[in-house]
Symmetry: C4
Subunit: 237 residues, 4 copies
């Protein structure tokens, strides 16, 4: 953007371009954290103030992602004709992302992976109990399991929304499938995807050699309230 | 190849050169995914329209692979005299690859690794049940186990072919040995090698702490049909 | 520093600058060893001869750390006004680090992570028995468990100090939370963080398939005394 | 060495320089394969035709190793006075390496690590059964366990030699301690260190979910004989 004097830094066009760059770059966090294999997994982000979101194309190598190959979609999950990348097919999970954006207006980002430890809990249909302070900080309670649902219609999206509405957790383990996470923006949803795998792994390891110790509900609440309130830099919130 | 105006982009010579480059590059996907150690593992690809395939040399460091060191073989597993790389010995698994190409004309690529989780199921002689949507998508059912077979004659190849003919899976776990995968081309077989280790790991983790939930056969079929039909970009298919 | 002729290489200002650079660089060892996820984990180091220490800012990406963004704090955990980085909030674990520095004058560095294997033992509230020669060398006995404590006041710091005072170990597993390590300087505390995860992992793996063999107390003592006395280069000690 | 016209490429001095470079470079294979943490682990190589070997210095970061910092030792484990690197202390395992070179003249390289899966078997004092074709190929049978021995005198070296003399394996798991491997040269010993961790991991994973299937002794023999005879390139042997 050097050399260009773009007016209206917050206008719609600029916002979409900035979001394409951010959503594209965030995919690298999935590979770096070992959450995805081959072309699996996807990140999307809502265009601020618009009924649109940006999502990864389907089946494209992580090395070959680029901002202009991210796909701009309506909240019905339809590709916006003529937009950059519109010659590509969007992620095969687009309908689920769209459903979440339609029904959870506070959500600005959605991530889906098959990260191994979180998916292992999902394959047993077992919620992850909140027995780590890091889980209380980040998720405020257990990570719930959502229903088994076939891909391709609204059932996955509906399962995500109905499960998350009843929990403080920004992550849900879809049965036999894998985790979906939400956030205030795409970056926040990616953080939740990284952290749900981290706590899924630690709780898995802990349970392998015996029982884990519970944390009192009042302590979970206090940890969650504090972390949501004071962690990080003011500019981040 | 810049600066060269090669005629006949699809002639035999060019096709072999392109395949050498692709097969060589694909080996990096094995190391990146942690599927191989030292000089173990190998990728091969069939020369389109020819009774030939290209395979990794035996016992050469992954860092020292180069397109001109890939070995061109006949479908009997014999090195083509005078071809680039023919001064090197081909992979010690060449006979098994050749057998697959001779008996499965639809196969364009073969991969073999000792990836740890898939090999662990092979060491128990236990098929991996299809209890993950990602398995249904990619393999359409369980990953079968092939017979124990000594290396060096046709027994490994025969075991691979006889086992895979009875399954939709592109991966077979050869007992006490490790996975072999096939694909429409070398890249597709590498994808199967990456994905069989991924699902072997997730199913391993899931089973460590309890039983996994089955997926109904009709759902497995629906997931497989959909994934084979619509995932990825049209140009990929 | 080339081109600058700094007088007083050991004066306070220079010592703080050198420590900022060292503490910043040491964070890369946490990511390289896989001990931390996202912005979790933190390293601090005491300013030699001063009632001050330097610590990571809260919630900043590991890629964006820089010496001038490390935070200078008093031993009460207060940011030194006007110092470089003082516009940022220090790590949310600053109070615990400060407590350790106030009560353990021999400590020059403190590290905290949620590394998965060590945290798994912490989630069960189970000390790691000293059944590896590497543990005897490095820690001189078992890795103890400290009490459950809420973040934000002195309880974590007090739990660390009271537990470590009764052991030769430079690492403590805070219950349901994760490891804290101490050292003669920041680098030594980072080494302890790396090694506690390593031995937590090896002991975890060993216990998964049966009982581990004990090491006689006299052998533990001999290994510890020798390692503390003769390992490494003289200049390191 | 460019610009220098060194006579006597095979004289002792050149051989030592070449060996320093090779032993130094081989340490990178330990870190790349995840076999070592911090400054742990060491590689040594015998100077061809001389009663000397080259080994890593003690407690030096892997990033700071250099050929001229490798230490030249006699077969009694004494540093050769005045040689490059002689101002540094050699690895604290030098006595064990020296013992092996004195008593096994066919050995040209020795490696020691605390790689996690191999060390886990060592902590239980349990040999790794030969239930993988890759183990039969590489080690020709089970990986044996050597006695518990304190560091610092000849007991470790004696335990290694007495155990390996009774097996085809180039790897021994010293009880409660970790693996030592030998080879025809330093590179071959490093290969054995990489492969013993690989098979220790796969057998660990396999055993976690049930029993592994045995391989008939005649098959183990056939696999071992074939692999030792024909794997790799002629120039390698």
């Amino acid at each position: 953007m050097s050399g260009l004097d773009r007016p209206g830094a917050l206008d719609g066009l600029h916002a979409v371009d900035a979001l394409r760059a951010e959503v594209c770059a965030l995919h690298e966090r999935l590979t770096r954290a070992g959450l995805v294999q081959w072309t699996g997994g996807n990140v999307s982000g809502r265009v601020p103030g618009e009924a649109l979101f940006v999502i990864k194309p389907s089946g494209v190598d992580y090395d070959e992602l680029a901002p202009e190959r991210m796909i701009l979609c309506t909240l019905d999950g339809e590709v916006v004709p003529g937009s950059a990348g519109s010659e590509l097919s969007p992620s095969s999970d687009t309908a689920a992302h769209a459903y979440v954006y339609r029904h959870m207006p506070e959500v600005g980002g959605v991530v889906h992976t098959h990260s191994p430890y979180a998916t292992a809990w999902a394959a047993r249909g077992e919620p992850i109990p909140c027995h780590l302070t890091a889980m209380a900080d980040e998720f405020g309670g257990p990570i719930p399991v959502g229903p088994f649902a076939r891909i391709g219609d609204d059932s996955i999206g509906r399962g995500i929304v109905e499960t998350l509405r009843e929990h403080r957790s920004r992550a849900v383990l879809m049965q036999s499938h894998g985790p979906f996470t939400i956030g205030s923006d795409a970056r926040d949803a990616v953080k939740a995807a990284v952290m749900v795998e981290d706590v899924a792994r630690t709780m898995h390891l802990a349970r392998q050699l015996g029982e884990t110790l519970p944390i009192a509900a009042a302590d979970v609440d206090a940890l969650f309230d504090r972390y949501q309130g004071v962690y990080g830099q003011q500019a981040d919130r």
